[in-house]
């Protein structure tokens, strides 16, 4: 059966222009974006998005945590909506595509369906989630977390930034403390730049995201004894930095030794007293492991603890390891993932399965609705950086995959004209 919408394509030029226009709001001299959540520039971005949504005849509602839902009606009033989205806030030195792409891609799908006069059975929503980045207020992924029931709304509204302003106050100040209920979602697709190097390195356009890695984060304090570097013989030392360096290398070795997309990182390390000719008495450091499987993640942690005991004994230091965060691995809905793969295939786009190493709103939404993500390449894998770059071709390709995956899920009931 020939489906008349099979050859429907989004308008890549319009998507590119919208992303460029949005990127001027909070633009930085180095070509990036500084758009911290619930600030004046975030308000401006939100208002631009809302204006565009209204211009596309979408029904806009805002919920109590400031999430923006923009609906395009479907022909079946009982069908749960198929949603698309991401976030408009950025890191302090952020890029033009992280988050913004998922929202603008959802809007572009709406506009393209309007242009083609295509009606869907299920209604569609494009969603902008509040405070995905967590740079101004914690926790991260706040808006999707509230909707998914991960965080109580009241808990989030009283979180304060470094200046003592609460989320609730900031929402009111920018006019986005809404009263709408978040809709029950029938499905959720999120398009996003990969933020890693894999697609670019493999010259692949579409990442079919299987889910997201689980994460276990630790704080580690290593206690030795300060001593003068000159008079203290090597055998008399209790050098905390020797213990820390051994642990850094073990974290790396453990991650490399495990399957299932294992990652092991020490990103933070602070030496005390941090003086050239004093043997360090204390080191504070982070350790984090990521893996697609909980069982492997636990095996990595067990190995870490065993290393800690060995290093303590061999380096004559005390090591306190404290687990502070656990995100379980997230596996996206198999049929949703298949629909992304099928859309990429039918569009003739190179694609590969991939697992997200980072958290996204989709990880929380997956707890309440069938969810999938679409990744496109970003230059050098660079993200959370003003130098973040993606090509118009890849941005359009990902948006076309989004379009067709959404149509497959929502069902097409009517097309103004058959496109051949």
């Amino acid at each position: 059966m020939l489906n008349p919408v099979n050859s429907l394509r989004i308008n890549g030029e319009r998507l590119w222009q919208s992303l460029a226009e949005l990127a001027r709001i909070g633009a930085t001299p180095k070509g990036g974006v500084k758009r911290l959540t619930l600030t004046a520039v975030d308000r401006e971005a939100r208002e631009r998005f809302v204006a565009w949504a209204r211009a596309a005849d979408l029904a806009v509602r805002v919920d109590a945590i400031g999430n923006i839902f923009c609906r395009r009606a479907g022909t079946d009033p009982h069908a749960a909506p198929v949603a698309m989205g991401s976030h408009l806030d950025s890191q302090p030195s952020g890029g033009k595509y992280d988050g913004a792409y998922g929202v603008m891609a959802g809007l572009e799908v709406m506009r393209s369906l309007n242009d083609a006069g295509v009606a869907t059975r299920a209604p569609l929503e494009v969603v902008s989630w509040t405070n995905e980045e967590g740079s101004r207020f914690t926790p991260v992924m706040m808006g999707s977390g509230v909707v998914a029931g991960v965080f109580p709304l009241e808990h989030c509204l009283v979180q304060r930034d470094a200046d003592g302003v609460s989320v609730g106050e900031a929402l009111k100040a920018i006019g986005f403390a809404g009263e709408a209920q978040a809709p029950r979602l029938g499905a959720y697709f999120e398009a996003h730049i990969e933020q890693g190097p894999v697609l670019e390195a493999e010259r692949t356009t579409i990442g079919v995201v299987q889910g997201a890695l689980g994460q276990r984060w630790f704080d580690c304090v290593i206690t030795g004894q300060d001593a003068h570097a000159g008079p203290t013989p090597m055998d008399s030392r209790q050098d905390a930095l020797i213990g820390a360096s051994r642990l850094v290398l073990e974290v790396n070795r453990i991650a490399r030794a495990h399957p299932d997309y294992a990652r092991g990182t020490v990103g933070y390390l602070q030496v005390k007293p941090n003086s050239r000719n004093v043997v360090p008495g204390e080191v504070r450091m982070s350790v984090e492991f990521r893996n697609a499987r909980d069982s492997t993640l636990l095996a990595m942690v067990a190995e870490l603890k065993s290393c800690v005991r060995s290093i303590e004994a061999e380096c004559r230091v005390a090591m306190a390891l404290d687990e502070i965060v656990y995100f379980p691995p997230c596996e996206f809905d198999a049929r949703m993932v298949a629909s992304v793969r099928a859309a990429a295939g039918s569009l003739g786009l190179s694609h590969r399965d991939i697992v997200s190493g980072a958290g996204h709103d989709a990880v929380y939404v997956a707890r309440i609705a069938p969810t999938a993500m679409i990744f496109i390449p970003c230059e050098g894998g660079i993200s959370h950086n003003e130098l973040e770059r993606a090509t118009p071709q890849d941005l359009a390709a990902g948006c076309n995959v989004l379009l067709h995956a959404v149509l497959a899920r929502a069902g097409v009931t009517q097309a103004k004209e058959a496109v051949t």
Copy 2:
């Protein structure tokens, strides 16, 4: 031949009381001392010392860098003076004995000789050197460095502290910009706490100091690539902290593999961007090696450079190693060292040869006069710390060694009474 001064002993109680009185000047709540060079508290300490010296009939002169020389005349007007001394300034969180002991011990030798009516052939000097610590003004060991010709006087006078005050201004402000010429020294003895753990651990009272370790200091910058800890596979990373950790362990290994009192220390390490979930793109760190022999020190550095090349290749990072400081090893005068050993032996004190790991005024004075040092134990090897501690017994023992080494060098020409 029975020498009537063989049984002469210093007054340990008076030495202890003088140290305690001096320690009240700039005393800190934790029992230490904050007496930064050329400050109001340093002035108070200097004035107390000068008053004590005058009370002991010593002739006090101050030179242009603020060194204080206090002379006790000898019977031979042509003999070059035998000097004793150290420094009165402290670290910001310093202890009661580092430096102060060497000055008070010298003063106590003078007082004890006065009490016993002993005249020496050569004149004696007790010296307080300006700015040994280098905490307020660099370079360290400034006063002794000027006298030894290591630093030009004019260069030192224009050095400024963090508030923009110069050494010259500070000297004038406290009334210690003198006009005297530093005397030509015939010999120099410096008594000091060990500032390391060796004597205490071996229950030995006197360290017969052979010299001081040579030092080579480096700055190292390791450049990798910042990347997201989540999306970046282990094989794609250029983690600067992995390179840094390997180098920390190599520095430690190299020091342990070499003889001649080798030390290897990374005391300073700074990670960028130092964020929990970002693979570190840059690490800046210090490396320092110390050794008693220049040839061994050079071998250690050669091995370090070879390690740097291996780590660069294996960790895909760039490492820039920059040598910033070189102190050559210092070997004290053999006859002076022998006189310290002989004094300890004749006093029946346990003693061992030792090499100073840290710099001292004696290291510079050794360039212009036969020099030796006397170490006594300090609790736990702790120094440059308010918790610095030494026992009255050990302080007195070191001072008695100083007395007899000085008398052996200066020659005794007259004793009021024979002490048996």
